[in-house]
């Protein structure tokens, strides 16, 4: 069977599995359409959370980003895992004891204020919309390569599938479907990584092979370690050594912090911990989620390093001079068709050469444009793996995109129908109208995601940084202060959220949209890039909140009592219905 047929087969089978599970779990009762899975065991919930968390962007792009960034890429690895420690230790058990089911619910009640709730709703909706925007591009890229259509057409196909899937899956179905999607995506990610690790270092575990000695075709050690080889190759090409990076220390620190804190403030992650049976389970569930995430995230940098050595040697040849284009392996031509690889023979010698600088810059020696996404998508071909592995990667990328989109659509629809309409502007709407708003919100979410999928000029990456910065500077401080400080009042919390939000928004909008040419380290505040500014936004939030709270009225007694009661597990109610 050829790759095309196998891809249709494997992707088709995986879709059949998800739809089957959606139908099977939905069968209980109609009420469960609106239940996201009250009473999901912690291991299962952890797995679903991991699938929800690992998006098409992290499945397809992350290894590529790290492959090109080297040490600097560590910000994503630590940032997107370290946030779970904050979630588990500072938020999840208390929010589970609180027992309501959305982040704005908590903020609204803890700060006894409709205004605080509205600020939280706006943040939550904006964060989810920006986040889902990045998803469709990933789906489009996968479809375009494996169904051999344009990326834009791939995006439209993806929009149709996600729409159909989110409506059919219902809310309850999502959790168990995500468990299946996790299994598909992790298998699809690990198989090529393990193959490459064995091929290049003889170690089965990529995490070990990452630090190991390279072997030759006969399986004998070459005496050269993978990372030393990479540092050497990078230096030869005139780039910073792979293990050193080129970002300033303060910027690496700030970006890591903004991503960690932002992770802990993302509504679609937090909401996961409202649905476990007991407070105890909220604690361990975060641990399980991180186990399942770490399986992939510790493999990602290994895959990044393997692929980089492979890629440089394929293009520049073992002598480092370049390889004739007509002798390039099939994957180079395959991916040139999609536009993700470009070759421009600047010196007209017929040889491909990857090096320093941008392809557009005529003076730079570099003749290749290699998209980040290639690293994962082309790995099976680079390593000459069987056709079923290529098909599997397609299914894995789609599983990652679908699980994240479904989770985000769930939060968008509950935020709009429950938080914004029912508890906000239109408290008297019927259940039926509430459901209608939920569906409209989901549809709008998909359309916006599709728009950004078709028009992604670097904009999506900026917008995703925005989502994290926003979560870090608004929701996270408000939630943590709500739990750990009984003195924090509504005036303080609202002032803090608004100040953190305004500061972070202005900084990012200024450097990304108003004055993008001025977006250089010399102009940054303390040398912190817009990606890392959420850390400062968070500090602004904490400081403003503390000052304002000191100068305004004390917290009412019943709210203090509520804070006392969420601080220990005893008496926690059933997992909430939603």
């Amino acid at each position: 069977m050829d790759v095309q047929t196998l891809t249709y087969l494997i992707v088709g089978l995986s879709f059949a599995l998800y739809i089957g599970i959606a139908i099977w779990t939905k069968a209980g009762s109609t009420k469960e359409f609106y239940v996201a899975g009250g009473g999901v065991p912690p291991v299962m919930n952890g797995m679903a959370t991991a699938a929800d968390w690992m998006s098409a962007a992290s499945f397809i792009s992350l290894a590529g980003i790290i492959s090109f960034a080297g040490y600097d890429g560590s910000v994503y690895l630590m940032g997107w895992t370290g946030g779970y420690v904050l979630l588990a230790l500072c938020m999840a058990p208390y929010l589970r004891k609180f027992g309501k089911f959305t982040v704005p619910d908590f903020i609204g009640e803890r700060y006894y204020s409709q205004a605080a709730r509205t600020v939280a709703v706006v943040c939550a909706i904006f964060i989810c919309f920006t986040y889902i925007a990045g998803q469709m591009r990933g789906v489009g890229v996968v479809f375009s390569r494996f169904l051999e259509v344009e990326v834009d057409t791939g995006v439209y196909i993806g929009m149709a599938v996600v729409f159909f899937y989110a409506v059919l899956g219902g809310m309850k179905g999502i959790t168990y479907t995500q468990v299946a999607q996790y299994c598909v995506l992790i298998f699809a990610f690990m198989v090529p990584a393990i193959f490459l690790s064995v091929m290049m270092t003889g170690h089965v575990l990529p995490q070990i092979g990452f630090g190991a000695e390279l072997i030759d075709a006969a399986g004998n050690g070459t005496g050269v370690y993978l990372l030393d080889k990479l540092d050497g190759l990078s230096t030869e090409l005139g780039l910073a050594p792979y293990t050193d990076g080129s970002k300033s220390m303060i910027d690496v620190f700030a970006i890591t912090a903004a991503l960690m804190v932002g992770t802990a403030g993302l509504p679609h992650v937090i909401v996961r911990f409202f649905t476990v049976p007991r407070v105890k389970d909220a604690r361990s569930s975060a641990g399980w989620a991180l186990v399942f995430i770490a399986i992939m995230y510790t493999t990602v940098p290994a895959l990044a390093a393997f692929s980089r050595v492979n890629m440089i040697e394929t293009i520049n040849g073992t002598d480092g001079k370049g390889v004739a284009h007509e002798q390039a392996p099939g994957w180079v031509q395959n991916w040139e068709k999609t536009g993700l690889i470009k070759w421009e023979d600047k010196n007209a010698d017929g040889l491909m050469y990857y090096g320093k600088g941008k392809i557009e810059d005529a003076a730079a020696p570099n003749e290749m444009k290699i998209d980040n996404d290639i690293i994962v998508l082309a790995t099976p071909e680079i390593a000459n793996l069987p056709a079923w592995v290529i098909a599997l990667v397609a299914a894995g990328g789609l599983a990652a995109a679908l699980s994240t989109s479904a989770g985000l659509l769930l939060v968008i629809s509950t935020s709009v129908s429950h938080d914004l309409m029912k508890k906000g502007f239109a408290p008297n709407i019927s259940d039926k109208q509430e459901l209608l708003y939920a569906r409209i919100a989901a549809a709008v979410g998909i359309v916006i995601a599709g728009y950004f999928g078709v028009n992604p000029p670097g904009f999506v990456a900026a917008v995703v940084a925005f989502a994290f910065g926003l979560a870090a500077s608004s929701l996270f401080p408000a939630i943590v202060m709500g739990i750990f400080s009984k003195k924090m009042n509504k005036e303080g919390a609202i002032a803090g959220m608004v100040a953190g939000l305004a500061f972070t928004t202005c900084y990012i909008v200024y450097f990304k949209f108003v004055n993008p040419t001025g977006n250089i380290p010399a102009n940054w505040l303390f040398g912190i890039s817009p990606e890392g500014i959420g850390m400062i936004g968070m500090i602004v939030n904490f400081v403003v909140a503390a000052l304002v709270a000191k100068l305004t009225a004390a917290v009412p007694a019943h709210v203090e009592a509520m804070v006392d009661s969420i601080r220990f597990p005893k008496g926690a109610g059933e997992a909430s219905d939603h």
């Binding site: 630590m78 370290g82 620190f253 007991r278 361990s284 597990p569």
Partner: protein
């Protein structure tokens, strides 16, 4: 009130805070400390074929994060039992 006395309630919260702060200190040291601030110093040391600072940034910190959450879960559950505020 689930606690036998106010002192017990305060004692529970104090012990809980101490646990959280200790674990967060470790969390900070392995990621921001070893992976970022001290990375150049640790990179002088080789560990399983890695420069140690680089290893903490791309591998080690994540393993420690996982361990921290499970240690927290176990210790917090034990603390609940000690003060008799666990779930039934």
């Amino acid at each position: 009130m689930a606690f036998e006395s106010n002192e017990k309630a305060q004692g529970y919260w104090r012990e809980n805070l101490r646990l959280v702060i200790t674990l967060l200190a470790v969390w900070f040291v392995v990621s921001y400390g070893f992976g970022i601030l001290l990375v150049d110093v640790l990179n002088q040391i080789t560990f399983m074929g890695f420069k140690l600072g680089f290893w903490f940034a791309q591998q080690g910190s994540m393993y420690v994060f996982v361990a921290l959450i499970f240690i927290y879960a176990a210790k917090a559950n034990a603390l609940d039992k000690k003060y008799n505020v666990h779930e039934d």
